[in-house]
């Protein structure tokens, strides 16, 4: 079925969002030069997804705080969240500069209590349960806030993700949208090879009472089309086909970049590639 074109609130032609994501990736690389290791590839994988949620989907109050809720269930991808929160003025520049430093307040996983962080994550398989509780609470209290959740495909191997997904279907929390960063890599293996029964993901969500759609996870237009799909009385899963390490040629689909900082030469190449985009 051909869907109606989505309403891209900020940047209708898609050029500025692309530049925005290049900027976010470069900022993450900058930070990588002050720490021995950080999760670059998992953040680059979901850069367009998180960008779309923050800059296109979420509603904001006049004071700059969000009306909706964002949970980074794949907590190790939080660098992209940090740089967007920095751009929005919710985190300070000094926060990013003291990332993983003893005098800083940002660690390698999001921490509840940090400005802009709605839930502590890091251990995989926790975000879905909390998101279902939040979505149910919003409905119970007759609030209109939406809950946006970003999961890794690897954490869809956790039983707890499916316990909670089943409850989301039972409770019909249609104010919950889950994006799966479907890059086909868990920490160790390419999942399509190591765990072929993991697929298909869209059908699994549908059979658990969700509406589900697969999109190109590096196209904001496509992500937005999926997220704006009507899904009355069902939660919505947007399965985003992505490339781990997207944007830097030598990082794409290379497992070592799950958790590593580039050396100065690698850094220069990566910055050049992202400059050219």
């Amino acid at each position: 079925m051909k869907m109606a074109p989505p309403n891209l609130v900020n940047e209708p032609d898609g050029e500025l969002p692309r530049r925005r994501c290049s900027r976010y990736r470069r900022r993450i690389l900058e930070i990588s030069q002050s720490v021995a290791a950080l999760h670059i590839a998992p953040a680059f994988s979901c850069t367009e997804v998180v960008d779309t949620v923050y800059n296109e989907l979420m509603k904001w109050k006049e004071d700059g705080s969000p009306l909706d809720v964002f949970i980074m269930s794949k907590g190790h991808g939080c660098m992209i969240q940090y740089v967007i929160l920095e751009e929005r003025g919710i985190l300070e520049r000094t926060d990013l500069e003291t990332y993983c430093k003893p005098d800083g307040r940002l660690g390698a996983h999001p921490d509840y209590g940090t400005p802009g962080i709605a839930a502590a994550t890091g251990s995989l398989g926790h975000g879905m349960g909390m998101a279902v509780g939040m979505a149910y609470a919003e409905k119970l209290q007759k609030n209109s806030s939406k809950i946006y959740l970003v999961l890794s495909d690897g954490e869809c191997q956790e039983g707890s993700t499916w316990e909670a997904a089943m409850m989301a279907g039972n409770l019909k929390v249609d104010n919950l949208t889950a994006f799966v960063d479907y890059n086909d890599f868990s920490g160790l293996d390419r999942m399509s090879e190591s765990h072929p029964a993991f697929h298909p993901l869209v059908d699994k969500f549908r059979s658990f009472g969700w509406d589900a759609v697969e999109v190109d996870g590096h196209s904001q237009l496509d992500i937005l089309s999926g997220a704006q799909r009507p899904h009355s009385a069902r939660p919505l899963a947007v399965i985003c086909k992505t490339v781990k390490g997207k944007g830097v040629s030598y990082m794409e689909n290379v497992p070592i970049w799950h958790y590593r900082s580039p050396n100065p030469e690698e850094y220069a190449i990566a910055m050049q590639q992202l400059q050219d985009e």
């Binding site: 509840y112 502590a120 149910y136 707890s160 409850m167």
Partner: protein
């Protein structure tokens, strides 16, 4: 205990629309069933799925509700342990985890249903408060406190049903404070939870031997009322701890450590469950007895 919890939860829940109960496929007792009928949106059954029971409670608390998770004690703590730790304790959320059948209450169901190390596990968690009322009146006081507190997660350890009232005329219940049910000067018995009925009998037997006996409910196992424990150690020549939990993380071990630090000169004997799975399928008292927790066995070990 279960019924009193249900009655109190019902009355508080009628008045406070933030109160919710999230169960994992356990039949709601008494007034909880009534709560379900009258407020179906605030009674959530996750089915046989304890991880989402805890995860949902965290999410609900993060959005302003006051959820209680409720099921058999082993399934509130052991199955979803990392969710209790990360979602509730790490984020320090005001969620009450109600564990029914703490200790070896479900004696005939085997060790899969025995929360015989729940105190050690729950007290090991940062930010977690652990409340173990000894009778229905303490259940009521503890439940009221849980419903209004904002400080963090609580493990509320209950027995089952039919426990006698043991605290009539005692000092008022206060979170974090030892509560004397009676005061004497020779022996001080510290206990908590439904095994208090054995502690009460031990007190009577000691009195029959001519001793004056203090009996205190340590209903708040964490945070422990350290000052009052030290005071008890200094005021009595014999201190006896009686609890229904294994040795690791037990009150008995804490009391001994405090005695050492305080330089207390009293004699201390601690009674608890053995660090063992016992394949005995008798009633609750019979299983306690197999663990060495009977009035006679305790009296035999006390040299008064």
């Amino acid at each position: 205990m279960r019924n009193r919890f249900a009655e109190v939860f019902y009355s508080l829940g009628c008045a406070d629309p933030r109160m919710c109960i999230v169960v994992a496929d356990i039949s709601p007792a008494g007034s909880i069933a009534r709560f379900r009928q009258e407020f179906p949106d605030r009674f959530i059954n996750t089915g046989v799925a304890e991880q989402v029971m805890i995860g949902m409670c965290a999410g609900m608390a993060l959005r302003g509700l006051r959820p209680f998770a409720y099921t058999i004690a082993t399934f509130t703590l052991y199955r979803p342990f990392e969710f209790v730790r990360d979602d509730l304790c790490y984020q320090n959320l005001p969620v009450t985890i109600v564990g029914i059948g703490g200790g070896v209450t479900y004696s005939t169901l085997g060790a899969t249903h025995h929360a015989q190390e729940d105190i050690g596990i729950a007290t090991a968690l940062p930010n977690m408060s652990v409340l173990a009322p000894c009778d229905p009146d303490e259940v009521e006081a503890a439940t009221r406190w849980c419903a209004q507190q904002k400080s963090g997660p609580v493990y509320l350890r209950l027995g089952k049903a039919g426990e006698p009232i043991l605290t009539k005329g005692a000092d008022p219940w206060q979170y974090g404070k030892i509560r004397y049910l009676q005061r004497g000067s020779d022996v001080c018995i510290l206990s908590y939870g439904s095994i208090m009925k054995i502690a009460r009998e031990v007190a009577s037997r000691c009195e029959a031997l001519g001793k004056t006996v203090s009996l205190a409910s340590v209903h708040t196992v964490k945070p422990l009322d350290v000052a009052s424990v030290v005071d008890a150690l200094q005021r009595h020549s014999n201190v006896v701890v009686i609890e229904e939990t294994g040795p690791v993380g037990s009150l008995g071990n804490s009391v001994k450590a405090l005695a050492w630090e305080a330089g207390a000169r009293c004699h201390i004997v601690a009674f608890g469950l053995k660090d063992a799975f016992i394949h005995c399928y008798g009633n609750h008292d019979e299983l306690l007895s197999a663990h060495g927790l009977s009035v006679d066995a305790i009296m035999n070990r006390l040299s008064l």
